[in-house]
Subunit: 162 residues, 2 copies
DNA sequence: GGCCAATATTTGGACGTTAAAGTAACTACC
DNA sequence: GGTAGTTACTTTAACGTCCAAATATTGGCC
């Protein structure tokens, strides 16, 4: 616990000037902070495996895939990131031998990223670590986690996403 | 609405393998996504003023301050970011004449960042723009925004923050 | 068949964040 | 008073994200 919460303090400041706007501002600030803290927790758990969360997500996605490979573009869609971010993530994974890149035989514009056996082994270990860390949210019940997801889906909708 | 939600799809994948872990994973993923979308919306609104959200927050904080200035370290605490991030943000604002840096007369280790008249003018304009954009959350009621903040405070607590 | 538009990926640049190391200045204590 | 330790800030380096521009390949259409 902290004796001073900057978010609450900011809300106080806004309320004094724009009482009818403070709640939206604080909601946004809260999202930013939760993301920051959660990312930090998750990356702590992944550090022993030399993976960032972005790298982990890419690897995890490939491991889920039926044929262990996916076009770069599809990965960007699933991970909801810019194509350049996928290139960046896959390049590092490839240099560690966790992923391979091959041109698609059907369309040579397409690059297929495929997880290697080493990549599969690592991602399973890393997944165990994340499970043990409860994804940075120890103490949160399953049910509450599901409710949070619903609330955030509403927020995504309000922001024009999904 | 989108015809395919990557977060829901990911939840499906996790549920098939780790039914009792999927909810936490999805909650985390949702936070990351909401942050990404919200940041994008907010920065769209700030773009006409040449401000990023980080720069805006620094400027806004200084404008709230009694004497229009704050030590760099205090800014880092309030904004909940690393000292290096404050240095980075203030350097850019200073180069645009929106902020000044002065050594504290009391303690010459301390750098006081102070908002300039130009900075104050700009931050008020930018604040209006954010208000008009409802901080990227049009359609969300005040009440709902406040509820979201409470939920996120619970999440921060679960993650070990605040 | 041949040219133009659309699609897929990469490259380079700008920004934000953190961790770790370095510099300067203040404080405590013998 | 002089040395040791702490504190404040900056610098450097690594990573992630996005945008805009460049490259390559495919597909449509006259």
């Amino acid at each position: 616990m902290v004796d001073f919460d900057p978010i609450a303090e900011a809300h106080r400041q806004w309320s004094a000037r724009w009482p009818d706007r403070a709640d939206h501002m604080t909601a946004v600030t809260s999202v930013m902070r939760v993301q920051q803290v959660l990312l930090s927790r998750v990356e702590d758990a992944l550090k022993p495996y030399g993976l960032t969360f972005a790298a982990y997500e890419a690897l995890r996605l490939l491991a889920f895939t039926r044929h262990d490979s996916l076009p770069m573009g599809k990965m960007g869609e699933r991970l909801m990131v810019h194509p350049a971010s996928v290139t960046n993530a896959i390049r590092k994974l490839e240099s560690r031998g966790l992923v391979e890149r091959n041109l698609s035989p059907d369309d040579r514009r397409v690059v297929l990223a495929a997880i290697t056996p080493a990549g599969r082994t690592l991602v399973e270990e890393a997944t165990d670590a994340l499970h043990q860390a409860d994804f940075g949210l120890p103490g949160l019940t399953r049910q509450r986690a599901a409710e949070v997801t619903l609330t955030l889906r509403e927020l995504r909708a309000a922001a024009g996403d999904a």
